[in-house]
Subunit: 575 residues, 2 copies
């Protein structure tokens, strides 16, 4: 008799598991249920549908050959035995191996028995329980219905959009509204920094500046207290602890939480913060019940700690593994495994793309590492090649062992920064890479695509120099702070660039700004006042580093502003 | 007393070693000699100077801050003690630790003593010893002087350019001449395939088609026998074993060979085919003599065999290591190592970029692996995102262990294919990745930059299916051959695409071409004649794979043309 497979949830993981299982082992009877109307859609594409970059919502539901992935598609093309939409799972009974379901249209209840059960219930949008949250035109962004509501409202005309939260989705929607609809948009967030668990303060500043350049108003460190409505019950204001902000639409994009209640009630082991616990075969604490995607807690391979990483790409990869495993395993190699994640992501914004992998400095410290994070700037291609972009890379290192714990980056060419971050992601997945291994990492080179000493390798070199103690660095914000306090801290700022720009700063700040280009440094170094503290800055950090070394050979010390004026510019800081 | 460092060669490796050494340990006395006029230039940029994408030759000699890297720069800015150009090394004496040198302008000879010696003599262009090779307007592409000659001749006007060889440089120059100067260019090569040691026949076909689309005339499998000249001693024809080809300029780009004669004479261990042998510290068989860059034989970490990989990026990375080591090692971690290479490269052409890492199928078989190479096609971004490109990836696998031995790719977006190849390069450097590890490799995802199941992961899935025996595949050229022989081999070709294109092919080949779209396959599969051999094809290979599985469940077998019509199109093959 065919093995009975039951799958709850049909957005990403569930359908992938079902179709893979059928291909590996056609001798299975597969049932998928989902409580929604739409199944198997590209949820990550919603911001681009809202922005109108994606024309029709059906594009998010179609295969690359333009066939809509509806229940008929799964039963007739993918040979899945039963697909039941608008069908909710009410109870999982692992002892008797059934799931009690309810048809949301007819109210009919049914016990579906299984040999293997797959949980792909995903996550739900976090909704704050505050006054006015039920007003009209306040939407989450949890599914296609939400996306349609927002897009329709955009088409009718929105004057004031407020987005609560600054998740990837929140930021992508804000950028889309600004770039494609020209709708003024306010983004309200609790934390001070952008993506505080993913990037450094330096890259956070770059994200903020990128969004502000798009005309997005960022309100940080404020709490939303309530929503005010008009006479017709439409939202019209967002009230924070500091101000009232006009809004004729509000999007709640405060992140998501795993839908693990049913699993918990069934006695499956769950992490209260992150979701259902699974082993490396993606089995829950009951070996006949598999789970994956947004629903599960997942192990971070660097920190060793559990985390929640709700991403469509993970759901797809895990869905395939579950599909293979419920089919009885790969015919040649048996059960397949998913060891965990290092945490790799990217997000296109207005002018640039930000991407990262592994831990940022804060998360590394939290995980118990004695970590430092070092930012740098270099062109992504040969400097003599006409097309090129200044790339920011930031390396997070454990000081003592020189082990790399993470890397983040920002660049106008999104694919170029993705290339470096994905390469580091592979290094983090396959080893415990050191700074030296980053310095010599073999990446492809040709002037139209890379530098001979690629920005990726240079990031290793820069961090290696700093950890070794060859060059003392300060972060851009630390340079800002030193400059702010210049009347009292006895600092002089030595600009080692050539050209016109530093001369203008000398004129502007005659007592504080000194210009000694690298090329004249040996001769002119003695002009640097002996009784002052010195901070160096140049274009990208390299020239100032060389001057710093010369200065040290002369018996003095100083600091160098990492990333130089290029990092300042990307942060929107003008001197 | 300061340690005396002597460095022979100042193009890439030598200057990098010198400047790094000085930064780590200023208490060294460093002398660099070079027989040329120009030092420290971006040799890999020459094709882009010839094409005029790079305006002035000085851009290849300048830092990113536009300072020319001449001897004065190295002595005054980089604090290198002595830089002697037009100075040739005549003899290395490892016993007495000196190098005998000759000033090429004055003829003066001098013994330069050293504590540590660095060999960075690079390589020379291979010049065929055939009749007429000394004619005017026949140039190698070994240095800036050559590049200037070619560019000057382009500016004067060339009607017929012939390039002998099909190295990266040869192809880059041909593309530049075609795209930027509109100069008709013939590329003559001995082998049948393009880059035969680096890519498969499928990717080779794509390279050839890309170049032909640029108007480049590719003459393969011919031997150049002699060059004919006019009355003034200018080259005017290239004579091969099959034809005479007009030429008013000829570029010899037949590859390079390491300049290891001096090292060999000094008794240092050399590989006659590849160059000077070094250990992981980049020391030659004499521990006071280091070598790197184009000069050395280097270990391929996958095949375990020595090879020659003359690339500016390797010279730079190795130069830094040598610089650290001759300085006495990293102050914290000691001597640094360079374990070898996996062989990673990329090249921008006319419409697309080709890139690769590790072994291709032929090299893998030569190295003793039971290998198979599997090509596939998928978009580089979410299929619903407006900007996207069809990417080719080819995975080379050891069948029994499923270990990945290499990956090559082709895509209109060069950085997108570089991203995937560099990620695989990291996997190859840091482990022995399997197909399963490729399937679940964690790469960053967002619709504007990747697919939820990224082309990188899908390449693993496709290869996994084939190695497991789920889907029988044939290479595009094998499909071509089956179709060519259709009058005698009893084959029918089943096109599983929807839409108009397959219907037209059915009309064109009524006896041989059948259209059964995936969506109707369950119902219409019985129309496939029972007494015929069957080859499936679709747009990219995916739909045909699903049909193939359905067909097998029905008790029959068939083959699937990998990469489908997309691979055919990139190869310039029309049906």
């Amino acid at each position: 008799m065919a093995k009975k497979i039951l799958i709850i949830g049909a957005v990403a993981l569930g359908t992938k598991a079902a179709t893979r299982c059928k291909r590996v082992n056609p001798d299975t009877e597969i049932t998928i249920i989902d409580q929604g109307q739409f199944i198997s859609y590209g949820g990550c594409g919603m911001p681009f549908y809202i922005s109108s970059e994606v024309d029709s919502i059906n594009e998010l539901r179609a295969t690359s050959a333009n066939v809509i992935r509806d229940p008929h598609f799964f039963t007739h093309v993918k040979d899945i035995d039963h697909v039941k939409i608008r069908t909710k799972a009410l109870e999982i009974n692992p002892q008797e191996q059934y799931v009690l379901t309810e048809n949301l249209d007819t109210g009919e209840k049914e016990k579906l028995f299984y040999d293997e059960l797959v949980l792909g219930m995903g996550s739900h949008a976090i909704v704050p329980q505050i006054k006015g949250v039920g007003l009209k035109n306040i939407t989450t962004i949890a599914g296609l219905e939400d996306a349609e509501k927002i897009r329709t409202h955009c088409e009718k005309g929105i004057r004031h959009m407020v987005i609560i939260g600054a998740s990837f989705t929140a930021i992508e929607i804000a950028v889309g509204l600004a770039d494609m609809w020209n709708i003024p948009c306010t983004l309200i967030k609790r934390s001070k920094r952008m993506l505080p668990n993913l990037v450094s303060s330096t890259v956070s500043d770059m994200i903020r500046h990128d969004l502000e350049e798009a005309g997005i108003n960022i309100v940080a460190e404020e709490d939303v207290l309530e929503f005010a409505g008009d006479d017709e019950g439409n939202v019209c204001e967002v009230v924070t602890n500091k101000q009232r902000i006009k809004a004729d639409h509000v999007i709640l994009a405060m992140g998501v939480k795993a839908n693990y209640e049913l699993a918990e009630k069934a006695g499956l082991k769950c992490d209260p913060k992150y979701g259902v616990c699974v082993n490396e075969y993606l089995q829950t604490s009951n070996s006949h019940i598999y789970a994956g995607g947004d629903l599960i807690a997942i192990k971070n391979l660097i920190s060793g700690k559990e985390m929640h990483l709700p991403m469509g790409s993970l759901a797809n990869r895990q869905g395939r593994i579950i599909g293979t495993n419920i089919a009885g395993g790969n015919p040649q190699t048996g059960l397949e495994t998913f060891p965990g994640v290092v945490g790799t992501w990217c997000m296109k914004m207005h002018k640039g793309t930000v991407a990262g992998t592994g831990l940022n400095e804060d998360m590394a410290v939290k995980a118990g590492f004695d970590a430092v994070s070092i930012n740098m700037e270099q062109l992504d291609r040969a400097h003599f090649y006409p097309e090129k972009h200044m790339m920011t890379l930031e390396v997070v290192v454990e000081k003592k062992t020189r082990r790399i714990l993470g890397m983040q980056g920002y660049c106008a060419d999104g694919t170029a920064v993705k290339a470096r971050i994905d390469t580091m992601a592979a290094m983090l997945q396959f080893g415990k890479p050191t700074l030296h291994e980053l310095s010599i990492a073999e990446v492809s080179y040709s002037p139209p695509l890379a530098s001979a000493m690629d920005v990726f390798n240079t990031a290793g070199n820069v961090a290696d120099n700093i950890v070794t103690g060859l060059g003392e660095f300060i972060k851009p914000a630390e340079f800002d702070a030193l400059f702010e306090a210049r009347d009292s801290n006895n600092y002089v700022f030595v600009d080692t660039r050539a050209g016109q720009a530093p001369l203008e700063l000398c004129k502007k700040y005659p007592e504080y700004w000194l210009n000694i280009p690298l090329e004249r440094f040996n001769e002119d170094m003695e002009k640097i006042p002996a009784d002052k503290n010195i901070a160096f800055i140049c274009n990208s950090g390299t020239r100032a580093y060389e001057c710093l070394l010369k200065f040290k050979r002369g018996g003095r010390n100083a600091v160098n502003s990492s990333g130089g004026m290029q990092a300042m510019k990307k942060r929107g800081k003008k001197y």
